[in-house]
């Protein structure tokens, strides 16, 4: 039981050994000592809660939040000691907030449960006691042999044992894992591939030794992968099940990014906490100062109880503390309890607008924008640096073979044929030279392209698709490549190869380790021995083909590769070593020219971002010249720009510190001076990866200074990790700019995760980037609307939301503080408990929520056409300390006017009724409260610039609701309630003429100065936003 509990809570330590041993079909060795290992079952649990632990676990998670924790403390204090307000007044809002959050989280978890049940309940076939048994996915255990039919998904991570093909191969896609839809061939071990029937599998005795579960998708052993589609019927043994499968291990909540607004919010909260503590301490001290005089401490009408009189020093101290706590409780509403829940609702609901936006919808690919986290919405309006990938992000990533160079001769496509430059078509004899053939051979062989056949019947019955291949015309074939340029090259070989090679090339694509590949010339077959896959660090791939020459060197290669590939630890490093050993002494055959078109409207987007004050950095792995020309063509660099170059700073100069410094500075110093002299000319900087790392290591500050003065920076020859490093560096530089990284490939993931906002492009390189991003869009051009419009909206909305929340709570609680000066700091509340409770959850909650969902300062179209408006809100300007101070002071001023206005008008002893009757303290409190609710609501109305019917509804509705509620609340003698303080108080107040005049004049006095300020600023120092509002207003 204890163990179970520990497991549920995740306390159990990870498995001890580095490897796990799986006995196929769970046939454990009969003799020898076998220590059974414990494996997880195949239940996928993405849900966080169960019915039983939902309440405690959810509560625990919620109270880990500092704000909720604070309120529960206040609540407990109210329960324990004698405080001015009943525990209900803080318990109810807390309950409300907790309930709303719990319902939301419960709903989400319910959705997850549904999805889990669907997966766990899926029928699967497992070999048990010699025959196939149908069971549910969740019942699979490690070691089970699972049969997966064609086009089914894998229920767990499997090691391929056999398939219905004689060779024991199987083609799979990994769309669910990383979005790659290309077919990957996996091979079974020769010994097991013969076991094609249940009984033979049953008799199989085998052990699989593998690593412990590990989230890295690409470090898989053999053939394990989950939730991938099989193309043929296969049998596999489950090695990782349930929560230990690759899919589940990769299915983690992403790192918690916090937005700048949230950080400001937390700062403000701390300031308010200080105000609260100050007020409480001041009140406590003043209370005791008053009580020092006996006449105030204990007048005859307020005698203390016996218990209070018997005071020893210890009780005195206790009394002092309890007084302090009571004041804390009295003023605790200054910390807005519903702020967090409102902010969450706003972010959650508001983020739907991104997905709903038609302008962010890409028709060709039928993809709409995707929001992976709603926490960062407002950060989109704060971006200062955009780091973008080039290929697939700025470009379409649709490669087309244009030209090539073979043996120094440039070849171009001419009428569907590859012809050398300068040679007329009619002079061609149609045959290829040896060099050309060798070149084409290399291009045709060295790739990882797979084919699929469109006609489904050709694959029916689990037949071997390759037997059909020869009879096929190329039109029915689709190439699938992990990289689009591979595909372009293969297609080119197909086009330009010697006549009659069409079908053989197609056969190459589906090559098989046992196939003798007839390539190009049927009499010249090749056997593929090894593929040395492409990786971003090596920037190359190679293949090893069977040939007669050098068998002895091949043996060495074979040995090294085999050792590296089967290594259980440090496999990557060992593979690198082996690759380096093989790939040496290479000869240049030729070069290919593949064109990748720029995406639509890239130039406009980059220009718009630049106008918005956002610096755009292009980070690419390309070489310098290519990168610069792409930069120029996409408008990242202008012809008029003064381009600084920092290239070829060799790292081998490192040893000599001084010369290096100067050689780095040399190109920089004059340009630095120029930058400072001349603000008109824009500067662009080109830097390559090696120089960059050098510059960052040794001249970080200088380099950053230069970068900040350049409007465009281009980094070429960048390794993926370097990209993330650059982002990190800027993120942590003293100004702490907000960074955004955008990319489409797996090599951009680290950058996307590192930046404040990570954006994935739904491109052709799988969904790695999209899965790891915060937002995903289909095209680069959507970035401008995402930032300039949505970012702007979200930022102004949430900024006002936060400021307003603090404002309205200052307004709320300050009169109560002021009242203490009139009631000898006896902690008497000014408002009735119900009003204290409902202020934040009913009377003032909806207008701000609706405002924060729909507010638009300027029409979206204007925002997009005038990117400069983005500068109005840059650097968190709406949440600057000055604005915060303004709102806080406004709150205090309003509170003073509410309180002293009412005080002066009701007076100490003025009758407000035509019948001479007098009002009491509750009427006074209600007057202040009424004025407050109306003023606070109207203050928001003053801020609102976009009045939809919903704004009207909630604004006027809130005020109306307050009146209706008060009439109802005061109209009944409430049963089971101790005091009937509010009975008919509200009606009596409204029946007084002077109360109405009082309410009106106080509201006017409160709102007038702020309105005046707005008018004056708009007239004398209009912001860009206001100018545009004006322009639209004049047009209308």
């Amino acid at each position: 039981m204890l163990r179970w509990t520990r497991q549920q809570l995740g306390f159990d330590p990870p498995h001890q050994s580095d490897t796990r041993t799986v006995y196929v079909a769970n046939r454990f060795p009969q003799h020898g000592h076998y220590i059974p290992q414990r494996f997880a079952d195949n239940r996928i649990i993405s849900s966080k809660y169960t019915i039983w632990n939902f309440v405690p676990k959810n509560l625990f998670e919620q109270f880990r939040r500092i704000a909720n924790f604070y309120f529960i403390i206040i609540f407990l204090v109210q329960l324990m000691i004698d405080t001015p307000t009943s525990p209900v007044t803080s318990g109810l809002p807390l309950f409300f907030v907790i309930t709303v959050t719990a319902i939301k989280q419960g709903y989400e978890d319910w959705l997850r449960h549904n999805a889990d049940n669907e997966v766990n309940g899926a029928p699967v076939f497992v070999v048990r006691s010699g025959s196939l048994v149908q069971t549910r996915s969740k019942n699979i255990r490690v070691g089970d042999i699972v049969r997966v039919a064609k086009d089914e998904t894998f229920p767990a991570d499997l090691v391929l044992l056999s398939s219905d093909r004689s060779e024991g191969t199987c083609h799979i896609t990994t769309a669910s894992l990383d979005g790659e839809t290309n077919l990957k061939t996996h091979f079974s071990v020769a010994e097991t591939s013969v076991c094609q029937s249940g009984s033979r599998l049953e008799s199989l005795q085998a052990v699989v030794e593998c690593q412990q579960p590990d989230p890295d998708l690409y470090s898989t052993i053999g053939d394990s992968s989950l939730l991938i589609i099989a193309v043929c019927t296969t049998a596999g043994v489950a090695v990782y099940t349930g929560m230990e499968s690759k899919m589940a291990l990769n299915y983690k909540c992403k790192s918690q990014k916090r937005s700048a607004v949230e950080k400001s919010m937390n700062t403000f909260l701390i300031i308010y906490l200080c105000i609260l503590l100050f007020e409480a301490v001041l009140s406590t001290i003043l209370k005791y100062a008053w009580q020092a005089e006996n006449q105030w401490d204990e007048p005859f009408y307020n005698q203390k109880t016996e218990q209070e009189k018997n005071s020893n020093p210890f009780l005195q101290i206790l009394k002092f503390i309890s007084d302090f706590l009571a004041f804390l409780v009295l003023y605790n509403y200054i910390i807005p309890i519903s702020l967090y829940v409102t902010v969450e609702m706003q972010k959650f609901l508001g983020s739907f607008f991104i997905g709903w936006d038609l302008d962010l919808y890409h028709e060709e690919s039928d993809q709409k924008a995707q929001v992976n986290t709603s926490d960062l919405n407002e950060e989109l309006g704060q971006v200062e640096y955009v780091f973008t990938d080039k290929t697939g992000t700025l470009t379409e990533n649709e490669m087309y073979f244009r030209e090539c160079s073979i043996n120094g001769i440039k070849y171009q496509e001419l009428n569907g044929r590859l012809v050398p430059e300068g040679v007329m078509e009619d002079t061609l004899d149609g045959s290829n030279t040896g060099d050309e053939l060798l070149f084409l051979k290399a291009v045709a062989l060295c790739h990882t392209v797979q084919i699929s056949y469109d006609q489904p019947d050709s694959m029916g019955g689990g037949g071997d698709p390759f037997s059909h291949a020869n009879g096929f015309s190329s039109g029915t074939m689709e190439y699938y490549a992990s990289s689009p340029d591979e595909k372009a090259l293969v297609e080119a070989t197909k086009r330009y190869g010697p006549p009659g090679t069409l079908k053989v090339v197609s056969a190459v694509l589906g090559r098989n380790i046992d196939d003798h590949i007839p390539l190009i010339f049927p009499h010249d077959p090749y056997k593929l021995l090894h593929v040395l896959e492409f990786d971003a660090n090596r920037r190359r791939m190679s293949v090893i083909l069977d040939g007669e020459e050098h068998p002895e060197s091949y043996a060495e290669v074979e040995r090294r590769l085999g050792a590296a590939r089967t290594a259980l630890q440090h496999r990557d490093e060992r593979l690198q070593e082996a690759f380096a050993f093989i790939e040496r002494d290479l000869q240049l055959l030729g070069a290919t020219g593949v064109e990748d078109r720029l995406q639509d409207k890239v130039q406009e987007t980059i220009e718009a971002l630049r106008l918005a004050g956002i610096k755009v950095w292009v980070l690419t792995g390309d070489k310098h010249e290519t990168a610069v020309s792409v930069s120029l063509s996409c408008g990242h660099f202008h012809r008029t720009m003064n381009i600084l170059e920092l290239l070829q700073q060799r790292t081998d100069n490192e040893s000599t510190g001084r010369p290096l410094m100067s050689c780095l500075m040399d190109p920089f110093l004059p340009s630095l001076l120029r930058i400072n002299d001349d603000h008109v000319i824009q500067h662009g900087l080109v830097v390559d990866g090696a120089s960059l790392s050098l510059a960052l290591r040794q001249h970080e500050k200088l380099f950053m200074d230069v970068c900040k003065n350049c409007s465009a920076v281009l980094c070429c020859r960048m390794a993926p990790l370097q990209k993330a490093k650059v982002v990190h560096l800027f993120k942590t530089s003293p100004e702490r700019p907000i960074t955004l990284a955008i990319g489409d490939g797996a090599n951009d993931v680290s950058m996307i995760q590192e930046a404040h906002v990570g954006i994935g492009i739904m491109g052709k390189e799988g969904r790695q980037a999209v899965r790891n991003s915060d937002y995903a869009i289909a095209r680069f051009k959507f970035l401008s609307k995402l930032l300039l419009v949505h970012g702007h909206f979200y930022y102004i909305r949430i900024a006002h939301l936060v400021q307003y929340f603090f404002y309205k709570n200052v307004c709320f609680i300050t009169p109560q503080f002021l009242y203490q000066f009139f009631c000898l700091f006896s902690q008497q509340t000014l408002y009735d408990g119900a009003y204290l409770t409902l202020y934040n959850i009913f009377f003032t909650s909806l207008p701000i929520l609706v405002y924060s969902l729909f507010e638009q300062l300027v029409h979206p179209h204007v925002l997009q056409t005038k990117p400069a408006l983005y500068r109005d809100i840059s650097r968190n300007s709406l949440l600057s300390f000055r604005t915060f101070l303004y709102w806080t002071l406004l709150g205090f001023c309003h509170a003073f006017i509410f309180f002293f206005g009412s005080y002066a008008l009701i007076g100490e002893d003025t009758s407000l009724n035509g019948n001479g009757q007098m009002f009491g303290n509750w009427t006074f409190g209600t007057l202040v409260y009424t004025v407050m609710v109306i003023t606070v609501t109207l203050q928001l109305a003053l801020e609102t610039h976009y009045w939809t019917w919903m704004n009207h509804f909630v604004t006027w509705g809130s005020i109306t609701f307050y009146f209706i509620f008060s009439l109802f609340y005061g109209g009944i003698i409430w049963p089971f309630v101790q005091t009937q303080d509010m009975y008919f108080v509200f009606v009596q107040l409204l029946s007084s003429g002077s109360a109405w005049f009082t309410i009106i004049i106080i509201i006017v006095t409160c709102l007038f100065p702020d309105m005046l300020k707005k008018v004056l600023y708009r007239h004398l120092h209009p912001t860009g936003t206001q100018k545009n509002q004006r322009a639209i207003y004049d047009l209308a």
């Binding site: 100490e908 002893d909 006074f924 008919f984 100018k1027």
Partner: protein
């Protein structure tokens, strides 16, 4: 902050749109709501829109202010501090001695009205420095007892601490510190036009001084049979320790004005917001001469039964005579507030007009 969704939002399907198929299956709806194109009114606070409004407001405030001022000028008020005035000084001194606390002391103060008080005249008593707004004090009452619930009569709530039961454990009715400290001076007003004229007792109507709803709903005597007297109903309870009379004998003249529905008690139980307050004591009865038009000018005297001690809290006691208008008693602050606002708005409006004139009517600087 933990995200609302630990998982991508895209996974939550809000409608059955996922069921749509076709090339544009995921295309968002082109609705005004989803595209954030809801029709909306976008007001703008500019000088030209605000100026007319400001002038209007200045005029409106002026009108309201002036009319309020005229109304207020018509009201009259007279305050008389009788704590140590006239013969009351003796009583004040005598009450300083705690042993005299229970003894009744009578005294008289005289005053002169220079001008006639026209219309309804209201007689208030006022207390200064008396904090009816202390939390412990305010809480010390039991509304359930005073609303006449039978079971609460003899089981006062613990809120009434320290006046729940007396030393003999008899429940107190009405319980609590508020009721206990009830103001117990009484007044009789006499009018003598000129010295030598006959002395007229000024008739005061002592009902209608509490809120109607308090008198008829919030405060009720415990239910009783026809045969029972009020005293029998309250049997088994004792009066608060500082009271000289039990609750069922508060008004010796009017039997229906006794018990929890005694209007003086109800008025007292409505705690004042501030330490200086006044409470309504009675209204002038204008049925007989010479009071049909209100209080004529002349000499007056008040006979006071001086019971309420104020020296313990450095308090003062007052008598206030006041006329009221439709919007209440004499309160100059309200008209002044309107007049000042009107003036300020007007000045600012002029200032703004100048700016508007000088910096261009359409704010030329806006077209950079």
């Amino acid at each position: 902050m933990q995200g609302l969704l630990g998982k991508p939002l895209g996974r939550v399907h809000w409608s059955n749109k996922a069921a749509k198929t076709g090339p544009l299956a995921h295309r968002p709806d082109n609705s005004a709501f989803m595209q954030q194109r809801l029709p909306a009114w976008s007001p703008m606070l500019t000088t030209s829109t605000v100026l007319p409004f400001m002038y209007c407001m200045a005029v409106l405030c002026l009108v309201v202010g002036v009319s309020l001022l005229i109304t207020v000028q018509g009201t009259q008020e007279m305050k008389l501090d009788y704590t140590e005035a006239g013969t009351c000084n003796n009583c004040f001194q005598s009450l300083k001695n705690v042993s005299n606390a229970g003894k009744s002391c009578s005294c008289r103060v005289v005053f002169t009205l220079e001008h006639e008080f026209k219309g309804d005249v209201f007689f208030y008593y006022g207390l200064q420095n008396f904090h009816q707004n202390l939390r412990k004090y305010m809480d010390s009452r039991d509304d359930a007892q005073m609303v006449g619930r039978k079971q609460n009569l003899k089981n006062p709530s613990s809120y009434c601490e320290p006046y729940i039961r007396d030393e003999k454990d008899v429940p107190i009715a009405p319980c609590g510190a508020v009721a206990n400290s009830m103001f117990n001076d009484s007044f009789a007003l006499q009018y003598q036009g000129q010295p030598g004229d006959p002395i007229n007792t000024v008739p005061l109507y002592r009902k209608g001084i509490a809120w109607y709803t308090d008198e008829n709903v919030k405060f009720r005597n415990p239910p009783k049979n026809k045969s029972q007297t009020l005293a029998q109903v309250f049997e088994g309870t004792t009066s608060p320790p500082y009271w000289q009379k039990p609750v069922y004998l508060l008004d010796p003249l009017d039997a229906t004005n006794n018990g929890f529905i005694n209007e003086d008690l109800i008025v007292w139980m409505r705690e004042a917001a501030f330490p200086n307050f006044k409470k309504l004591y009675g209204v002038l009865v204008r049925t007989q001469e010479p009071f049909t038009n209100g209080l004529p000018a002349g000499n007056y005297s008040i006979d006071i039964v001086y019971n309420f001690p104020v020296q313990y809290f450095k308090g003062r006691k007052q008598v206030v005579l006041s006329t009221v208008t439709w919007f209440g008693g004499q309160n100059r602050f309200l008209p002044i507030a309107y007049l000042v606002t009107s003036g300020l708005v007007f000045i600012i409006a002029i200032f703004l007009t100048v700016i508007w004139w000088k910096f261009g009517k359409d704010a030329k600087n806006m077209n950079e």
